[in-house]
Each structure stands twice: as C-alpha cells, then as structure tokens.
C-alpha cells in the first residue's frame, strides 16, 4: 500500500528497505520525515492530537501519489501518516520516493509534502500550558503548494 494512516510509530529505514527491495533499477531514494516540535508560535507544546477524516484521507493521499507519479519519472511513492496522540520529538509523517535519479525523486518528494500539507484532511490540536488550541493553517503552506500548480492557461 502506497498510503498508510496509523497510530503507531514507523521505522523509516525498514520502510525504505521494503520499498526498494528487489529493484536494482532504483538509483535514488528521497525521503522526508516530519516531527512534532516542542514549541509553536512562541508557545510550548506538551502534546499534540492529530485528527483526520477517515475515507477521504486515504483517497486524498492516493490522489497525491498518483499525481506525483504522473508528473515525475519516479518508481514508488510511500506516505505514512500518524494520527492520535503525539509528543514532542515523535515522528508524524514519512514520505519516501524511489527513482532512477535524484532530481526527479527530490522534486516528487517535496511536491507530495506540499500537497499533503494543503489537501489532505488532517488537523492538529496542541496542548500548551495555556490550554488546548487547534493549529491554524499557514499561508506559507498554501504558497508552497501553489508553486506546483500548472500555468492557468493549461488549466482545463
């Protein structure tokens, strides 16, 4: 499965090994791991709860994987995203892209993360010393995703 939502932690090394196993045509593996930080917007974060929209989440992520494979010459794309309660330093998300060459793998990996941040239905709620608060979406994430939009003229 190229897309997994789970509460348990993941082992990036094991995931990468499994993804490229038995494929000597893989010349590059690009990966990204997102972590839970101990502070956000100047406030300490003691715990985080990640919620998602079961059903839509899987579809949205699979669509992002398909789009990445359509746009770049890559072989496999894996997304593992955790939900539930997380603590600072915990791993949240893993993206792995395999391909023949690094350029396409790097670009596809960055694209997947930028689209995931703006299109996959996940929400973070942080526990802070002042109480719980929902994380606000960032304009910089929208801007990062917009870099990958096709020119308007080619839009259907």
């Amino acid at each position: 499965m190229p897309v997994r939502i789970q509460t348990k932690d993941f082992d990036a090394g094991a995931e990468i090994a499994a993804l490229r196993r038995d494929n000597p045509k893989v010349g590059a593996v690009a990966s990204f791991i997102g972590l839970c930080r101990d502070a956000n917007d100047g406030t300490a974060v003691t715990k985080m709860t990640l919620e998602h929209y079961p059903g839509m989440t899987e579809k949205a992520l699979e669509k992002i994987v398909s789009e990445a494979k359509r746009r770049w010459d890559v072989m496999e794309v894996l997304i593992v995203h955790r939900v539930g309660e997380l603590k600072p330093a915990d791993q949240i998300v893993l993206v792995v892209v395999t391909g023949a060459h690094r350029g396409e793998a790097f670009a596809a990996c960055e694209f997947v993360m930028d689209y995931l941040k703006t299109r996959a239905p996940f929400w973070k709620k942080e526990e802070t010393p002042q109480g719980a608060r929902w994380v606000e979406a960032r304009a910089s994430d929208d801007e990062a995703a917009q870099r990958w939009e096709p020119p308007k003229s080619s839009a259907a």
Binding site: G34, L50, E51, H52, Y53, G55, M56, K59, A60, H81, I92, V93, M113, L116, K117, T118, R119, A120, P121, F122, W123, K124, K125, W134, V135, E136, A137
Partner: protein, 85 residues
C-alpha cells in the same frame, strides 16, 4: 432529500456535534445553499459558518466548491483548512 453532513476538527467543537442526517429541500442544491441553510439556525451555526470564515467543504470525500452540487444521499463535510504533515 436526505444528506449526511459532517463537522470536523474545530468546527465539530464549535457546533457541538460530529454530524447529522438532514432532510433538506431539493432547492438546497449546492454546497453554498446548504451552508446558508445551516447558518440560519443562528448562534454558533451563524458564527462558525459565516461567510469570510476559512472553511473547506468536501462532497463525497472530494474537495468541493460553493457551487458544487448536492444530491440525495451525498456526504457533505465541513472543516477548517487542513494542518497535517
């Protein structure tokens, strides 16, 4: 017609429920129409769903626009901008 409406994340907390099955008039034929109908309940509904609030809507688990059609049996989810990753 019957539709299933979901409220997720902060919106669920503001509205005090995770969702509901609604019987709506066939005249409520778009996402914008449904939003207006819910806002008419007043109170938290009017505040949380007010125009200008950053809200996202999915119809049958696909991102939708205000003009997206709403049909019998559809699942319509309202939620804030996403913050995963």
């Amino acid at each position: 017609m019957k539709v299933k409406v979901l409220y997720l994340a902060s919106l669920r907390e503001q509205l005090g429920k995770p969702g509901e099955d609604l019987e709506v008039s066939p005249a409520t034929s778009t996402v914008a129409g449904l939003r207006t109908l819910l806002m008419a309940r007043g109170g938290a509904w009017q505040t949380a769903l007010a125009q200008g609030k950053a809200l996202r809507v999915a119809v049958n688990q696909e991102m939708a626009q205000p003009t997206t059609a709403v049909k019998p049996g559809d699942e319509i989810a309202f939620f804030p901008p996403v913050t995963g990753g």
